[in-house]
Structure formats: C-alpha cells, structure tokens
Amino acid sequence: MWSLSSITDIVQTWLGSTFNPTIALLLQFVMAGLLVITLFAVLGLVLVFMERKVSAYMQVRIGPNRVGPRGYLQTAADTLKLLMKEGLVPAGADKFLFNLAPYVVMISAMLLMAPIAFAKDFQMWDLNIGVLYVSSVSSIAVIGILMAGWSSNNKYSLLGAMRSGAQIVSYELSAGLSIISIVILVGSLKISDIIASQQDGWWIFKGHIPAIIAFVIFLIAVTAETNRAPFDLAEAESELTAGFHTEYSGMRFALFFLAEYANIFIVCAIGATLFLGGWMPFHIGNLQAFNHIMDYIPSSIWFFGKTFFLIFVIMWFRWTFPRLRIDQLLNLEWKYLLPISMFNVLLVTIMAIMKWHF
C-alpha cells in the first residue's frame, strides 16, 4: 500500500512497452532530473516556511500568516520577489566566477540527491559506493563558496569565504569518521545495504554507545558543514553582514539560500539513513506482531518523518545557541571532536570484530 515503488514500476513497464530501450532510458533520465528539480523547489519552499514558523514559535511570535491560507504561500511570494529582482554584479567583481558560484553550490546539492532512498525501492541511483559518493560530492560546495567570496571583490565576503573553507574542510573529517563507524558495522557502502541491515533495529539502538556518540558527532559536524548556527561563521550576520553572499542579490542569492536548505535536507536524510534506518520502519528484533503493525505505516512517511525530525533538531540549534568564534570552532573540531571520533571508530571496529552489536 502507498508504496512509491509500485508507481515507478508502472512507469517503467509503460516506458519499456512503448519505446525502444534507448529512448526509454533517456526518458527515465529526463524524468529523474525533472523530479529532482521539482523536489528542490518544493523542499526550498517547505523548509523555509518551516524555519520561519519554528523560529517564530521559539521567539514568542506567530510567523508568516498573511499570504495564502495560514501563510502557506509566503515563501512562494518571496521566491517570486527574488525572481523579479535585479541581479546586481558589483564593479570590480570577477564576473565569470561571480555568476558561476551559485550554480556550483546548487549543483553539488543536486548531485547529492541521487543516492538517497526516499522510500522502499524508490532510489535514483543505488551505486555501490553510495556513502563515499555523498561525502566526496558534498565537499564540492566549498569551492562554490570560496569562488563567491573571492570573486565578489568585497572584504567581508572574502573573510566569510575563508572562514567557511577552514570550517568545512575541518568538519568533514569528523563527519566522515562518524559515517565510517556505521560503514564498519554494516560492511558495505551501498545505501540499500545499509538500510537492509537495519531490518531488526536501527543502528542507533543496535550499535550501543559508540553509535550514539557517532550520531551526536555527525549531527554537530553536519551542522557546521551546512554553515548553520551556531556554526554560521561564513555568514555571521552580526560581524560580516552576510559573509560570502553579501554582494549577491536576486535569483543568485536565492540559489545560495535554496542550496543551504537542500543541503540541510540531504545531510539529515543521510543521518536518518545511517543511524535511524532510512525508510525502514521501527522494528524490534523478532517481535513479529509489533513489526507487522509498524510495517503498515508507509516507508516514505518513515523516511520523511525521521528526516524532518533531524531538520527540526538542527533548526532548534540555530534558534537557541549563540555563534562560536572561529578559533573556538576549530578548537572544538581538532581538539575534541576529531580525537573522540577516531577513538570511537576504534571502539566500533572492536565491536564489529567481536560481534558485540545486535
């Protein structure tokens, strides 16, 4: 029931029976691409609205409630405004890099959509190095940010981009190490294998304390990697006005904005896949009756529920904590998170060899 895989099956059989194989494959590519772009737009609208509402309720106010029913169309109206605005290129800017930068950030976020399993058997590309692909492609975004900061010909942008470079490169280490600890437990980099291994319980429960440590480190590291408060030093509104995108306006700015939210979605989806079982329902060992009841909830709802829970946690961080200073940020990574996650990987390895996990 409700399974998205039946829809994909219908589409595939229809394409296969109507066109010759090459054109059918081509059409599939086009459809997948269109779906990603649509998903992007929808995610942007939903997440921006969610952020505004979450922040409003944390800040004793109501949030957007004027455009459309209960304010649902607010972000659509904002997007329209940004589309109509003039995109200014400052004098003295490197025009080519300045125009290219938002697309680099955007494309890296789009590429990351490929290996994510949105529901049971609903995945664009189940490549055998899935997790490695995610961690490598996600680091392309920093090139876009550095490009934006350098080409703007603005000192604030430059400072923001340099901070961002230092920050993303450092935090990728602990994010990578916490991903590795799950990969060690599963024994595969493939996303579908990782999800299948959580049939009898999610890794956060099965992996004892090391998995929980890895999960916490993962959450901190991805918050830093997506440049979200309390690690939003690249933007640092109160210090650098808007950091690397100070000079951007109109749709180019919107692309940065959209990419930020898409990145949040992706890292939360990866977190949900690795630690909370992806689309896998909540199963407890061999309790057949309980597991069957849980199976009645569609897999897509499980996936989006977990992902949005993690997104909410990240938003919660943003609206509660003050920002760290750049040296404190790097100290946190190199002096605390990295040694802890290295030791944690060791623990996980021992656990995996001795088969202590469930």
């Binding site: 922040s55 106010r61 509104e237 109160s238 904590f321 003050p322 920002r323 200073r325 750049i326």
Partner: protein, 371 residues
C-alpha cells in the same frame, strides 16, 4: 573625507564597519585594521548623526530644552530629562514635592530596566543568538505600555518638567507596575537559561576585552562598563539625588573587567532596579506632582552642574546662565562617548567577532555618543 585604503603598508586589511552595519546599532563608523582576523587598530569616526543638540538647546528656554535631550540617549530619555530638570532646579533652588520625587525615581528605574532589556537582546544578536532579542522585547513592551499610559509616549517620554512631573500618574500605574514586577521575576531566570549560563556564550564573553580598573578610570568610563572593572561609580550612591539615599539597593560591582563582567553587572542591575520598584510602588506619597513655578523661568547668573546615573553611565548637564530665559551655554557629558574611547584599547589583539561582542557589552547608543 577619508582616504580610501584597502591595505596598510604592512599588508594589513582595512575594513569599514559601518556607518551601515548590523551590529553598530546605529551610524557609527569604525575603520578597523585587521591582520587575518585579529584587530590591530580601531579608529572610530563620528559625525553621522550629529545634530548639534547642545547648540540647539542654547536657543530654547529652560522649559523647552529639556525635551531635546530625549533624542540623545533615546533608550533612557527619561533619565536624560531628569538630569536636565535637576540642573534647572538647582539654579532656581526649587524644592520638588515628595510625590514628584518618587514618581521620577520610579520612572527612572523602569527606564533602566527597559534599556537593559534592549541591551540584553541586542547583545544576544551580536553574538549570534537571535531568540533573546524577541524575549527581551516582550518584557520591554510591558514597560512601554506603562509609559504610554502615564506619559503619553513610548520612547521619548518628555515627562519631566522643572519642579516635578508633567502630569499625575495614570490610575492603572500601580496595578500595571505590580503586574510587571510579578511577571518579570521568572523571566530573569529564563534570561539566565538563554544566555548567562549558556556555555557557548560564556566561552565568547569570558576573558575577552579586558578593561583594567586603572584604564577604566583614565578613559573616563562610567556606569556598568566601569563597574564591570570594579570601579565604584554609581551616581545614585555617591551623589544621591531625589530619594535614592533613602532607598535600599546595592551598587553592583564585578572585578574581572571582561565582557562577561560587564554583562553580569547589567543582569544583576535588573534585580536591583526591581527591588527599588518594589520598595516604592506601595509608598507613593500623596500630594502635588508639581511645585508651582513661574511661567517663564530665569536662571540667575552662574554655572550649574548636575549629574544622574543613566542606564549607560554618568550623564552630566552643565549650564552657564547669564540671567536670561535661555541658557548661555550648555554642555552634556554623555556616558557613551567616554565608553567608546576605550574600545580601541580593549579590542586590540582580539578577533573581529570579539570586537562585536565587546561593542555589545559596552552598550552603545550612537545618538548619545554623537550629540
């Protein structure tokens, strides 16, 4: 005007913070020399909001000039007005009725709480936490409502007149202030949870921007800025005016001199101001709210000085009178100006992010610096 410099001879980066910048809280222009992210030099440039208030005051009568000062430190306009009327009363040797004295002190302390509320929220924004701002404004709004009922305005109250206050208290005043005291106390605990005890916040503020006791004195710092460095300088204690000498409150002192102690001074002052309100709200004496004065005030020939403790420090009013209906010369001593002069000294060698936190902890109101 200023020469456009991108880098110095040593290769340091020169950036302009302001006049339009989210955390200068106004049109302050700082030219900052940076080596990497470390501050080598800060050069404040003033004049963007200079309205020559002192000169303007010289053309106005002793009744009128009081209200121009509301636009200087607009967050404690009440206390500015208070300083001015005290100086005029000194010149006229006017006795103020007990009721007016109590009303003035009540209003001063409410203003102090409102001003500290805004500072607290804005400091949160400076260090990157956006939520405290809204929480602080919720409480500030309650004070604004009280002010609006009695004084008629919310920000520039213009309630003080030489000889008392302009109108009697609104009938809701006592009820609302009591309600505010009751509501505000639990909110202070909430404030502590949000910022004071937040480990990131402590990390950002402790040991940053240290102003030693000697420096605080030599730069002429006053108010919470100096008290954070252990300089006892509360005008309400040292040179009590109105009924402050009869009240039971303590001067808040911290000794570290860093941003966190300046923060703590203000947060602890919330409680002191609340206690003053509590002592007075049930003991407002009956009587006139204004002494009878002549329609046209004329100060005798001479020089008069009075000072009050605003939310930011010592506010002094110096009047030279020639016996006419308007002052011959007026000079205001504003707390923000002296506190700003210490910025370059305490922010050197710190990171640019710390500079913003230090500025927040010094609590600048730019129209006060730049009259």
């Amino acid at each position: 005007m200023f020469e456009e410099v991108a880098t110095t001879e040593q290769g340091d980066l020169v950036i302009n913070v302001g006049p339009q910048h989210p955390s200068t809280h106004g049109v302050l222009h700082l030219i900052i020399t940076l080596r990497g992210e470390t501050i080598m030099k800060i050069e404040p440039h003033l004049g963007y909001i200079h309205r020559s208030i002192e000169k303007m005051c010289e053309g106005l009568t002793y009744r009128q000039f009081v209200y121009v000062t509301s636009k200087m430190d607009y967050l404690s306009s009440h206390i500015n007005n208070h300083g001015c009327v005290l100086c005029v009363e000194k010149g006229l040797q006017l006795e103020v009725t007990p009721r007016a004295q109590v009303i003035r002190v009540l209003m001063d302390e409410l203003t102090r709480i409102a001003s500290h509320c805004l500072w607290w929220g804005a400091l949160g924004m400076d260090v990157g936490a956006l939520t405290p701002f809204f929480h602080a404004f919720r409480e500030r709004e309650m004070i604004n409502v009280i002010m609006e009922e009695t004084c008629g305005t919310r920000l520039t109250m213009n309630y003080m007149v030489p000889g008392g206050v302009m109108a009697d208290l609104h009938s809701n005043f006592q009820k609302r202030v009591k309600q505010f005291i009751k509501d505000f106390k639990p909110k202070l605990i909430e404030y502590d949870d949000l910022l004071t005890n937040n480990s990131i916040f402590i990390e950002r503020m402790k040991g940053v921007g240290i102003l030693s006791k000697d420096d605080a004195v030599s730069y002429g710092c006053t108010g919470p800025t100096a008290r954070g460095s252990g300089v006892s300088c509360d005008i309400r204690k040292w040179y009590p005016y109105e009924i402050y000498d009869k009240l039971n409150f303590e001067e808040v002192l911290e000794t570290e001199g860093d941003s966190y102690s300046r923060y703590m001074v203000r947060v602890r002052e919330f409680r002191q101001s609340l206690s003053i309100l509590e002592q007075l709200i049930d003991n407002i004496p009956e009587g006139d709210f204004q002494t009878k004065t002549k329609a046209v005030l004329k100060l005798p020939k001479g020089e008069f000085y009075s000072k009050v403790e605003t939310a930011r420090g010592e506010f002094g009013v110096y009047i030279v009178a020639e016996g006419a209906t308007n002052p011959y010369r007026i000079k205001f001593r504003s707390p923000g100006f002296s506190n700003l002069s210490a910025l370059d000294h305490i922010a050197r060698g710190q990171k640019i992010a710390d500079m913003i936190a230090i500025m927040g902890s010094l609590d600048f109101v730019i129209p006060d610096i730049d009259r």
